[in-house]
């Protein structure tokens, strides 16, 4: 517990660092947001300056930064220029889409990667092993966005099996409760909407899931192999335990530790995958939002989303650490 609290405090300097870097990058970006805001409105220079003053953009940079941090602590990340709404509202509205999408992708990745990795390690150097490893190596080399496009071309455009964009069909009505469509449709017992949301999730999740599974498969395999070679496994086998028990109770539970950690550490990269995938599938999440915001120079949103992604990443790392302590009690006491 103490260990986790300490970890929690350690994320504060990281968050501050991230915010300083993002703040600085945004300052270098050419183009004046005020100019952009008033383009084509015929506002007088005085009006522009008044807006600049009201947004605090005429103050020295360090002051702007400190104001930003204090406002952010209160949950105020500024005002979106393109939506004319608070950044936090813009992000929170789209966040469930991204989380729902990430979780289903991770789910697909895990149900593919765990059996594949375990079988490959148990049947080491067999044809199955080679097939799994070849598949994983090939898969790791395929750019995620290209896999997405191929799936759309094949499954959506040619076969018309699944929808290729959006979270739900226009004609399906769903009452918003949590913003997670699968949960909302179940809460309001709207089965058609649940089905519709689910089939919209398949292609995007498959795209990202394939990308994640290649990496996790390799990880599970190598981690299993490392454990299988250890003395305690020989002991367990020697005392006559069935192979299944040895593999599941002994090998797998130990092999899980590095797997969980590395999935957590790699989550940043996996989140990056959502950005491109959301653009391809017109998925209304925060990944697509940040790209739109870069195009339209909506820097408060860009800043907010990157901070938000960082926060998710750090949270996942802490959760990973917590799981780590659960799986291996020795760690918490070091």
């Amino acid at each position: 517990m103490q260990y986790l609290v300490r970890r929690l405090f350690l994320t504060i300097p990281v968050l501050l660092g991230v915010s300083i870097i993002i703040f600085s990058i945004i300052q270098i970006i050419p183009g004046d947001p005020i100019q952009y805001m008033f383009s084509g409105t015929g506002a007088s220079p005085e009006q522009r300056e008044a807006m600049r003053h009201s947004l605090g953009l005429d103050r020295p940079l360090p002051v702007q930064y400190i104001n930003y941090v204090f406002n952010a602590i209160r949950g105020d990340f500024g005002q979106s220029i393109q939506f004319n709404q608070p950044v936090s509202k813009v992000i929170l509205e789209r966040m469930p889409a991204t989380i729902e999408f990430s979780i289903t992708s991770l789910f697909i990745a895990l149900i593919v990667a765990f059996p594949a990795g375990i079988i490959a390690s148990v049947k080491r150097n067999s044809i199955i092993d080679y097939m799994v490893m070849t598949g994983a190596t090939l898969g790791i080399s395929l750019p995620t966005f290209w896999v997405g496009i191929l799936l759309i071309m094949l499954v959506a455009v040619n076969l018309h099996w699944l929808p290729s964009f959006g979270r739900i069909s226009y004609e399906v009505h769903l009452e918003r409760v949590t913003g997670f469509y699968l949960i909302d449709s179940l809460l309001t017992w709207n089965i058609p909407a649940f089905k519709d949301a689910l089939i919209h999730l398949i292609l995007p999740s498959l795209t990202l899931g394939i990308a994640m599974s290649t990496f996790i498969t390799r990880l599970v395999r190598s981690s299993m192999l490392e454990e299988i070679g250890k003395d305690y496994v020989r002991t367990a086998r020697a005392k006559g335990l069935p192979e299944k028990t040895v593999l599941i109770h002994h090998v797998l539970s130990n092999a899980l530790i590095p797997v969980i950690t590395l999935i957590g550490l790699k989550f940043g990269a996996l989140l990056s995958g959502t950005v491109v995938a959301e653009v391809i599938f017109a998925w209304p999440g925060i990944g697509r939002l940040v790209i739109q915001s870069i195009y339209s120079r909506d820097y408060p949103v860009v800043q907010g989303v990157i901070l938000f992604f960082t926060l998710i990443y750090l949270t996942i790392n802490i959760v990973t650490d917590a799981l780590y302590v659960l799986v291996d009690p020795r760690i918490g006491h070091v």
Binding site: P13, V14, L15, G17, V18, I21, I22, I25, I26, I28, I29, P30, T137, L138, I140, S141, L142, P143, T144, F145, W146, I149, L150, I152, M153, V157, L265, G268, A269, L271, S272, V275, V276, V279, I280, V290, I291, I294, Y295, V302, V305, I306, F309, T310, Y313, L314
Partner: protein, 303 residues
Amino acid sequence: MEAQVTNVAEIPGKPPLQQSRFIRVLRAVLRKKTAVFGGFVLGLFVLIAILAPVLAPHDPGQQNLKLRLAPPIGLGLENASIEYPLGNDNLGRDVFSRLIVGSRVSLVVGVITVVLTTLLGSMLGAMAGYYRGNFDNAVMRLVDIWMAFPDILLAIAFAAALGPGLFNLIVALALTNWVVYCRVVRAEVLVLREQEYVMAVRSLGGSNMRIIMLHILPNVLSSILVIATLQFGTVIVTEASMSFLGISVQSSVPTWGGMLADGREFMRQAWWLATFPGIAISIVVLGANLLGDGLRDALDPRL
């Protein structure tokens, strides 16, 4: 997998030993068919990129609206012409030529970014590991911060800040990717700096810079080489993703990512436009991954 590499205590700086080690590693890599295949693919890619102006049968920018969305040959489709083996895009430009010329951006971005990140990351990592103390702490906190960014967003943010252009794209990618090298090199240097030979050089009056550059870094080289090879593929995919999103070089220059983005608009009528650039990217990245895996097995089974 055989342990050709004895260990880091092997005395560095002695030419005969280094040479024999090089040959041993080369043999180990050559024994792996997949690694040889990877090396072959990368070599071919480099050759194509360098010779692109000679190899491309047509001007990649030349438009011919009569040939708009003409299909590739070999599928029995109408309008296919042997002169344009992979078909034509929405402006009637030759896909094959654009693919060949597009390899140049990928190669230049891949190579220069990897060289820059290697220099930046390894130097920072080596100095952090060697000097320890406050410098090390500062560098490692910076690494923590960098790790917390989703890579592609950081690269996109840098690219947006620096503006479009090849050079700016490379700088953005280099500023994003140095962390891996820094972490690995630091970890290895932490061990190496305690070795007796380092103390020997120090007692002979060797300066810190001399020790790092001549005695420590050469011993980390194998790890750096492995990461650099694997990173080459990653950088090419990131570049392609950014070109795909339109945050990259000017759109007049053909890039594989840019071709994919254009092709996506026409995937209903012309599937080949979004297919071939993706195959090209995948093959090159696969080559880098196979060679990287082979090198890792030969040089450093621990990585």
